[in-house]
Amino acid sequence: MSENPRDLLYTRSHEWIRRLADGRIEVGITHHAQGALGDLVFVEVPAEGRQLEPGEACAVVESVKAASDVYSPVGGRVAASNGELASRPELLNEDPYGAGWLFRVLPAAGAAAGAAAPDGQFMSAEDYDRFLAEQAH
């Protein structure tokens, strides 16, 4: 059974995307990503107010084993970042789709705000499940 919530969108670099009611985009890493990294010990999130390009590396999640960049799926301004992760990086392992969220972006005007990008770079949960299954082979 999939761990990936049906109401989110997913990227090929294993971020999840949640559209919030106020138009902002919440971003985190998937259950698969946290499992592959192992115990997270250090998380660096973007400062609030920072302007992000679509696809820009803007956060770092680091486990005992390895460091991994997190990319912003959309361009825009960082509206909030999860400061709790500085002292409790393990939240990313324990609750990747909830308390382990990384940052929220207010999409730039003209950005595909909350919708799947025109080039179809985001996946539904079903497509992401298939993507993971293909990668496992």
Binding site: V41, F42, E44, V64, K65, A67
Partner: protein
């Protein structure tokens, strides 16, 4: 698919995440590597290290041969069962491997070598053994389980008959006994007390399961690496290799230059090298948040605040780094060029380049943690 130890199916059944390690499929962890780390520091954990090579060296001149082969001196092994850590060098002083040598009996020794280097080691050892008429036998039918932690010895002893249990519990550190077909050594690679048990591969699964029932936590390569690094122990292939010698790898203490007449392989090269300024091999504790990793460049900290130092040329690099679960800080081993201005251990500061930004780290003398206790002040 890689090589499999006799415990492969057991690891799979326990839900281990398996990785390729020097050609072997081995568990990196069974769940949380940090919990496995703490289990070893606080109670007892076990590692399948059957990928390591067990090589028995026997013959009337076996001792003489090993005094030629190894940089440390097996003549220090004054009683049967005693063990010794040593490097095995090339003629130019480059490190071929690090190993533990046990004296099983007079002129009967056992070497335990790294898994990734065992083929090359066997060829090297065999080639040099000929002149001494020593027999070199790889004991591929043996498995090795390392049981480590403050309660490791007591829990391992529950698997043994009373007399055997008493014998292994009375072993001094760095010594071994052969009991009921098992070779039990009070050695390890974690900085904790414990045993390394060499036993017939056919008994490995039942022993591992009995240890599980005795409350020993299975632990993977991930925890093994954080434990050994906290303990300040080098990893072959990361902290040293054939391009480095013991004197620039923090291993000068393992080279027996006395007696002066012992002509071990690599001696002439080391005699030259020891007269030159040596690279310093140091421990680092990151003062800021982040994780230290192998190959990160280390810079002079005095250059940062418009000081006199050179901020462009690295002093050296990290050879292995990780996050220390015991200290809750990043730690590392680093090799710095001779004369690097790092101050006294415990006081000196350097800068480490982590993804393009420089972070302050303190220079310390390893180990960082031993027997559950932090040895560096934070």
């Amino acid at each position: 698919m890689g090589l499999k130890t006799p415990l492969y199916d057991t690891h799979v059944r326990l839900g281990a995440k398996l990785v390729d390690f020097g050609g072997w499929d081995l568990p990196i962890s069974y769940g949380s590597q940090i919990e496995e780390h703490h289990a070893v520091r606080r109670d007892a954990g076990m590692f399948d290290v059957s990928h390591m090579g067990v090589v028995d060296i026997d013959g009337a001149r076996a001792g003489e041969f090993l005094r030629r082969l190894l940089a440390n001196d097996v003549a220090k092994l004054r009683a049967d069962g005693r063990a010794l850590y040593s490097c095995m060098l090339r003629e130019d002083g480059g490190i071929l491997d690090d190993l533990i040598a046990y004296r099983r009996a007079e002129n009967r020794y056992r070497l335990v070598v790294n898994g990734a280097t065992r083929r090359r080691d066997l060829a090297w050892i065999g080639e040099h053994a000929r002149a001494f008429g020593a027999s070199v036998v790889e004991r591929e039918e043996l498995a090795i389980i390392a049981v480590q932690g403050p309660n490791a010895r007591a829990k391992t002893a529950t698997l043994l008959a009373p007399a055997a249990a008493q014998e292994v519990l009375s072993l001094a550190p760095f010594s071994a006994a052969q009991v009921d077909g098992w070779f039990v050594a009070r050695t390890g690679y974690t900085g904790e007390d414990g045993f390394e048990v060499m036993l017939p591969a056919t008994q490995a699964v039942s022993a591992f399961e009995a240890l599980l029932r005795a409350g020993v936590a299975p632990a993977g390569l991930g925890a093994r690496d954080t434990l050994r690094l906290e303990a300040g122990m080098n990893l072959y292939g990361s902290d040293m290799d054939e391009r480095h010698h013991p004197l620039d790898s923090g291993l000068a203490w393992t080279v027996a230059f006395d007696p002066p007449g012992r002509d071990f392989i690599g001696r002439a090269a080391l005699e030259r090298l020891r007269r030159e300024p040596a690279a310093s091999f140091v421990g680092l504790v990151l003062e800021e948040r982040g994780v230290l990793r192998a190959h990160q460049a280390v810079f002079d900290a005095s250059a940062a605040a418009d000081g006199p130092g050179d901020s462009a040329t690295p002093l050296g690099e990290i050879t292995s780094g990780t996050f220390s679960p015991t200290l809750n800080r990043a730690i590392a081993l680093a090799r710095l060029r001779a004369g690097a201005p790092v101050g006294r251990a415990g006081e000196g500061r350097v800068l480490v380049d982590i993804r393009g930004r420089r972070h302050l780290a303190r220079v310390v003398a390893p180990p960082f943690v031993r027997r559950g206790q932090a040895l560096v002040t934070l």
